[in-house]
């Protein structure tokens, strides 16, 4: 079967492409109804938040228990959810940052998918457009480099993750480390990064980038490069 044959076969399988009657009208009506529902839900949430705040303020010494807030700006969160197609809870955001003219977010993959180690998916947004999926399987916290005793010791508490973004001749590293630790990229300190930090690097070969995590006592371990961490395109 040649490529042309496959194309012809698929073309036949696709059928005539007759749209359901008044698809555009149905879509416009449904989109407006959806928007109204979202506005109503947001209004109710705002009222509840205000009411909760007032109640907490009236309670001596009381304060509302803070839920995890997204590390993204509200507009960015909206673009992310538009791309993902569903709400994205703050707990799913492993790391986020801005690399050049694009925003990058690494999201923890939902639980329940049998696998070892943790897996993230990487989304990017440019020019205020909704996020697009760049990589759907990026392993992190998956293990240590052979002989890295510090890494092996702290592995149960989480190691962190990094990826290398290569685009338009520029290379950026998005790195994340658990709270209380700092990150160093190619030997340069990049500070704490519980929600990720972006560092531009000069690297002829992105695979040569080295990311270390420094513990409060000064010991350090290297984040192992995982398959697929170099993201082009």
């Amino acid at each position: 079967m040649r490529d042309d044959d496959v194309r012809a076969l698929l073309d036949r399988a696709a059928g005539p492409g007759d749209l359901p009657p008044d698809l555009a009208g149905t879509v416009v009506t449904a989109a407006r109804a959806r928007r109204r529902r979202r506005v109503a839900v947001a209004a109710v949430a705002a009222v509840l938040a205000v009411a909760g705040g007032v109640t907490a303020a009236l309670r001596p010494g009381g304060a509302p228990a803070p839920g995890p807030a997204s590390v993204l700006a509200p507009a960015d969160q909206e673009l992310l959810e538009a791309g993902v197609g569903s709400p994205v809870p703050a707990e799913r955001i492993v790391a986020a940052g801005r690399a050049g003219d694009e925003s990058i977010v690494a999201l923890d993959r939902p639980p329940g998918e049998g696998r070892s180690g943790k897996v993230a998916e990487v989304w990017v947004s440019r020019g205020g457009r909704p996020y697009e999926l760049l990589r759907d399987h990026l392993v992190y916290d998956g293990g240590c480099l052979t002989g890295d005793a510090v890494c092996a010791e702290v592995a149960p508490t989480g190691l962190g993750m990094y990826l290398v973004r290569k685009r338009d001749g520029r290379v950026f590293v998005l790195a994340q480390a658990p709270a209380g630790r700092t990150v160093a990229v190619d030997g340069r300190p990049a500070g704490p990064a519980p929600h990720g930090v972006v560092v531009p690097v000069e690297a002829a070969d992105p695979w040569e980038v080295q990311v270390h995590v420094v513990l409060p006592d000064g010991r350090r371990y290297r984040l192992p490069p995982q398959p697929g961490i170099v993201l082009g395109g």
Binding site: L9, A13, D18, A24, V27, G228
Partner: protein, 165 residues
């Protein structure tokens, strides 16, 4: 927001997008739902999109949404048997013929099907298909090759059954 613009876009690009969705889902009804859901989400941003390449954008959104659906715990892949090959030649025969082909497509795993559609129907390069699906070029290569082999075997079996009749 111009509803007329959007209506014209749906009339013009909708059939191509629906055909893409049919191949992506391997099922006409599911494809109509997917397209409608995607357009509902795209419509609020139409005023910005219409200046760009809205068809490419919606196609990408269809792919993303299909991938999200496949990952959903509610998604259960339906693998039907490939129906018997119909007598060709008439309109009904052609419709049944499509069912045979769609069933063959449905027998492929979701991602493999998407790779085959992107590579061989849309004519994407391996790099473009990888970017579209958020996976590696190596994965696209292997899935395309295995998908093609499985499609060839499935359709070939149905054709042999027809010839043996």
């Amino acid at each position: 927001m111009s509803g007329d613009d959007f209506t014209a876009f749906v009339a013009h690009s909708g059939p191509r997008l629906l055909r893409y969705a049919v191949l992506l889902c391997g099922d006409r009804g599911e494809a109509e739902d997917l397209l409608q859901e995607t357009l509902i989400r795209v419509y609020p941003r139409w005023h910005r999109l219409r200046e760009q390449q809205p068809e490419a954008y919606v196609r990408r959104a269809l792919t993303n949404r299909a991938v999200s659906r496949w990952r959903s715990p509610w998604h259960r892949r339906r693998v039907d048997g490939v129906p018997e090959r119909p007598v060709p030649g008439d309109e009904l025969g052609r419709a049944d013929d499509r069912q045979v082909l769609l069933a063959a497509l449905r027998s492929l795993p979701d991602r493999m099907r998407a790779v085959v559609v992107l590579r061989y129907w849309l004519g994407c390069t391996e790099q473009e298909a990888a970017a579209e699906l958020g996976c590696s070029v190596g994965s696209v290569k292997s899935q395309a090759s295995r998908g093609l082999a499985r499609l060839r075997a499935t359709v070939g079996t149905a054709t042999a059954q027809e010839a043996g009749r």
